[in-house]
């Protein structure tokens, strides 16, 4: 394998990791602050993608589509937080899993009912549709590169929000001791709605960005949701930093595993079985990584013991 191909795949891994971070950030915040496990996070990702596809089809503008994805997912997030999710904070995890699983059923079938079973398509904007040449002569799709940039900007914004702003202080205080900050006069209910809507908006945004590479369809959120779970288990639940490190680890491991493993097995197996064994193992690699992390750190890399 040439070094150029290697770097290109590293960039693909980075792009995947950045996407996973957008998805995991909300999930880990919601768990850290409210103690809620939210399976319906994948549905918010799907809602963002569908909103973007619908607006792009109506207006032809990709920027408007992205804004629509943020707005739609944040709105849907706020709505379910106000009506259903807030009843679940005091419940045990089983209730949370079931109620949010029920929300997935409702959202998925509701979307299927509104948009039909056929996938929608969201086109990459013309400006970004071609490849760009990076230093060293690497050809890389401009759109994927902009996803990396946008994702890193959002990640930076999240760190700034959590560590530098007043809302961030409240969020961190909420993670540490929610009774205390309620006693100090912070409207905890509003804070919770805000955090949930923020996480939802990030998930919806990720859905819209990925929707332009893949197709926009019902059920697109769940595979990503499960990867996001792997990410936050690796990173440590509740830690934004952990989510970032975990997302990049999973992104790189998955992308590189799919490329490298079949080639490694080809060194000592015949070609056809090398591809079979290699790709089967590659599809399990991130879970093996997760198991490995858990053996040494059952609370994840940055989890509080």
């Amino acid at each position: 394998m040439t070094i150029l191909l290697f770097i290109e795949q590293m960039l693909n891994g980075l792009q995947f990791g950045v996407m996973l971070f957008l998805m995991s950030a909300g999930l880990t915040l919601v768990f850290g602050v409210m103690g809620l496990i939210n399976l319906a996070h994948g549905s918010l990702y799907m809602i963002g993608a569908f909103a973007a596809a619908a607006v792009a089809a109506a207006t032809g503008s990709f920027v408007l589509a992205l804004m629509a994805s943020l707005a739609a997912a944040a709105l849907a997030g706020a709505l379910i937080e106000l009506t259903i999710i807030r009843r679940l904070y005091d419940r045990d995890h089983l209730d949370q899993v079931l109620a949010t699983f029920a929300l997935i059923l409702i959202f998925s079938e509701g979307t299927r009912w509104m948009f039909g079973s056929f996938p929608l398509f969201l086109d990459v904007p013309k400006v970004l549709s071609g490849p760009v040449t990076l230093p060293g002569g690497i050809q890389f799709p401009a759109y994927r590169l902009s996803i990396i940039v946008i994702g890193l900007l959002v990640a930076g914004g999240m760190f700034a929000l959590i560590n530098r702003t007043r809302v961030g202080i409240r969020i961190r205080a909420g993670e540490a001791d929610r009774e205390m900050i309620a006693a100090l006069g912070v409207d905890i209910a509003k804070l919770y709605t805000f955090v949930f809507a923020l996480g939802a908006a990030l998930a919806g945004f990720a859905g819209a960005l990925v929707g332009a590479i893949q197709s926009v369809q019902v059920g697109m959120g769940e595979p990503v949701l499960i990867l996001a779970f792997v990410v936050i288990v690796i990173g440590g639940i509740g830690s934004i930093k952990g989510a970032f490190v975990g997302a990049l680890l999973v992104g790189f491991t998955d992308t590189m595993g799919r490329i490298l493993l079949p080639q490694i097995f080809a060194l000592f197996l015949e070609p056809s079985s090398a591809v079979t064994v290699g790709s089967a193992l590659a599809s399990m690699l991130i879970y093996i990584l997760m198991a490995g992390v858990l053996v040494f750190r059952p609370r994840g890399l940055y989890g509080v013991a």
Binding site: I37, I84, D95, A102, L105, E222, V230, V233, L294
Partner: protein, 327 residues
């Protein structure tokens, strides 16, 4: 007899009565539905030991359900093509005999549960939920990317496997087989609940510190429960694959794990017959609502949401009242 016992007896009577009625009325499809209900109930009864008694919210039990299914698929497909599974170092051939298939299904899913349990049980709470889900997905993706046994398309067999003395292709006979297995497993679970092991497992759920302080090891108790639970769900998977004469990665999907939990929730968590009633209601809903609307999962979701938010004990809880407290 308590009210719960009456409900339990009634649920078994309905599960047995409906297909018998269907036999008289010549409605083989209803018998198949009842068989599905019995098999789903069995899967739920398996999970209920971990989830209800042990308090282990496993969102990855579809892995065991599917492994059981694939045990059937692999053994039977080798038997029908007369190709041995393995020749060296010793010969292993496929089989069409149900008892052998069940044994293999239970052993393989128990081993899978042991491997997953050893790692997952190091954690608890929400970590446990996510990790079992992730391991379930691992098995799912493995099944999809491994082409030898159908990959994404799954594996079908031509003729249902045989059981000595029965013609399993006759719907009522196959139903009878599944029903008897369900009853036997219910008896076994009842015995486990009353045994010292069952009480200790239940105690580990209620108060881990106390269990530790009397010298019991919650980790070991939970691991044993998880393995038994996986084996029973694997047996249900083998039966389910035999019912459809087809096994595919769908059986391993995480929606399947969610559905197995739903059976338990509708009926009542930790109740012996909770999954039996839950599975019957689920099949009833699937059949009636599925006929009314293509989008019946919306109603299922709404019902589930209602049960979780407003009726915690499930149906048995609503009719039989609170469970007797042991402490």
């Amino acid at each position: 007899m308590t009210r719960e016992t009456w409900i339990n007896v009634a649920s078994l009577a309905v599960l047995l009565g409906v297909p018998l009625w269907a036999l008289m009325a010549d409605e083989p499809f209803i018998i198949t539905l009842a068989t599905r209900a019995a098999i789903f109930a069995l899967a739920g009864v398996g999970l209920n030991l971990a989830l209800g008694t042990g308090g282990l919210v496993s969102l990855g039990h579809a892995a065991f359900f599917g492994i059981g299914g694939y045990a059937m698929g692999i053994l039977a497909s080798h038997a029908q093509s007369y190709a041995p599974i393995m020749e060296a170092p010793f010969l292993i051939e496929g089989t069409k005999s149900m008892p052998v298939i069940w044994l293999v299904a239970m052993v393989t899913s128990a081993l899978a549960a042991l491997a997953i349990g050893v790692l997952s049980l190091r954690t608890s709470g929400v970590y446990f939920i996510m990790i079992t889900l992730a391991f379930g997905q691992m098995v799912y993706y493995f099944a999809i990317s491994w082409p030898a046994y159908g990959g994404e398309d799954g594996l079908s067999i031509y003729v249902r496997n045989g059981f000595p003395g029965l013609n399993t292709l006759v719907p009522i006979q196959f139903f009878g087989l599944c029903f008897v297995i369900l009853c036997l497993v219910l008896l076994l679970m009842n015995a486990i609940h009353k045994s010292a092991f069952g009480l200790a497992l239940s105690a580990a759920r209620q108060n881990e510190t106390r269990v530790l302080s009397v010298g019991l090891k919650p980790y070991h108790l939970r691991l044993v429960a998880f393995v038994i639970s996986g084996a029973v769900t694997g047996l249900a998977g083998a039966l389910f694959a035999d019912l459809n004469r087809f096994v595919s990665p769908t059986m391993l999907s995480w929606q399947m794990s969610g559905e197995i939990i739903i059976f338990i929730i509708i009926g009542g968590v930790g109740r012996l017959f909770g999954p039996v009633i839950g599975a019957m209601i689920f099949i009833l809903l699937e059949h009636t609502l599925g006929g009314l609307s293509e989008f019946w999962h919306v109603y299922l979701g709404a019902l589930l949401l209602g049960i979780v938010l407003f009726a915690k004990g499930g149906l048995i809880g609503a009719f039989a009242g609170r469970e007797k407290a042991h402490d």
